[in-house]
């Protein structure tokens, strides 16, 4: 029980999402994974079951009214009636101009920006809500940079306390004599080291 509460704090992808989803459910409980389940998925627009299984009294009344002819509904009730909305706002069909921020759904209905109760009976989240981004990337990038920084500290400690001195062949004079010798030997004269040296002027090519 406590574990489920903890998991509800975690972002969408970090740990098994089924555990996180179960922590949020207050209305539908999927006791058995063999029963049809509700899910908010972009590629599964119409789930097998409604979000709310047990309707309250006011929700039941609304459902009854929806069964009658839609012309008897007031404008507000039309907005509330999901069947009417789904009929009018077919996929890709626009009812009004593009609405306020956050309402860029399948149907760009201005009315859907504050979703009515009937919608919430059938669906838990709108498409805009389920597709929303999160701030998880900031945590990930910040965490990665933190640990890279920590690794740098570890490497600095190693260089100071563990590693011995570099061999003499890394001294500046040695490297200079070595490079001169490699140029005299004409090492890689076609595209490599000696090809970058100007033998007439005795300097590196510009």
């Amino acid at each position: 029980m406590l574990a489920t509460r903890v998991f509800s704090l975690v972002g969408k992808r970090a740990i098994s999402t089924s555990v996180c989803v179960r922590a949020h459910e207050s209305v539908v409980k999927s006791e058995d994974f063999s029963l049809p389940a509700y899910m908010d998925r972009r590629d599964h627009p119409l789930p097998e079951v409604a979000h709310v299984k047990h309707l309250s009294a006011s929700q039941k009344a609304l459902k009854e009214k929806e069964k009658a002819s839609w012309s008897s509904l007031s404008m507000d009730e039309k907005v509330e009636s999901l069947c009417f909305l789904l009929h009018k706002c077919g996929f890709g069909e626009k009812w009004l101009n593009v609405a306020e921020e956050g309402a860029a759904d399948l149907c760009a209905c201005k009315w859907l920006s504050s979703l009515p109760p009937v919608y919430r009976i059938k669906f838990k989240e709108s498409f805009a809500e389920m597709n929303r981004g999160s701030n998880e990337w900031k945590t990930v990038v910040g965490g990665a940079m933190f640990f890279i920084g920590f690794t740098a500290l570890v490497i600095m400690w190693q260089k100071h306390y563990v590693y011995g001195p570099l061999p003499q062949s890394f001294d500046k004079e040695w490297v200079a004599k070595q490079t001169k010798r490699m140029l005299d030997m004409k090492v890689n004269p076609i595209q490599g080291l000696a090809s970058k040296w100007d033998y007439e002027k005795n300097e590196w090519k510009k």
Binding site: R42, S169, R181, M182, K186, N188
Partner: protein, 227 residues
Amino acid sequence: MAHAAQVGLQDATSPIMEELITFHDHALMIIFLISFLVLYALFLTLTTKLTNTNISDAQEMETVWTILPAIILVLIALPSLRILYMTDEVNDPSLTIKSIGHQWYWTYEYTDYGGLIFNSYMLPPLFLEPGDLRLLDVDNRVVLPIEAPIRMMITSQDVLHSWAVPTLGLKTDAIPGRLNQTTFTATRPGVYYGQCSEICGANHSFMPIVLELIPLKIFEMGPVFTL
């Protein structure tokens, strides 16, 4: 020899190595093209808004992505086989040198015109002069003439070693009880380095190979190395 932090191949000192560099460029270009294509497809897959899960039966696409890789493989195989057969061409070597691997040094035998046998040990760090190449320079180099086909007979006296000189495109295993042969022709005079290329014990990294290629006229003058 390679300079510090060198990633690419060394410049060629033999015609075979020149061919290998060209082939490497060709194969690497194909690899880059395929990798880029796959990365692009992956990127598209991860950022698409499309959600159709019922795609099936794409016969034309499947045919293309079967035939096209087959063609690409043929385009890689043909130059590869060409170079492979080129390395086995009969070329009538002027000189035969034997190279015997030991733990942890090489022995070279020049027995065509007399009997010269010597060992080649890496110079220990304390014996190095400023400017010497640490881990690469040896006490006795293998002196050879340029522009003459040379046959190397390579074997080992104890465990597996491998005689390698990258700039000549050479790497041949030294196997105890077996004689391996490789031939090469050097086009430029100079000093060329290689390292043992088969794990052979504690000092595997400390038994390098150094060839000193000199003009034939000087080589013919007789002993050019001191023992």
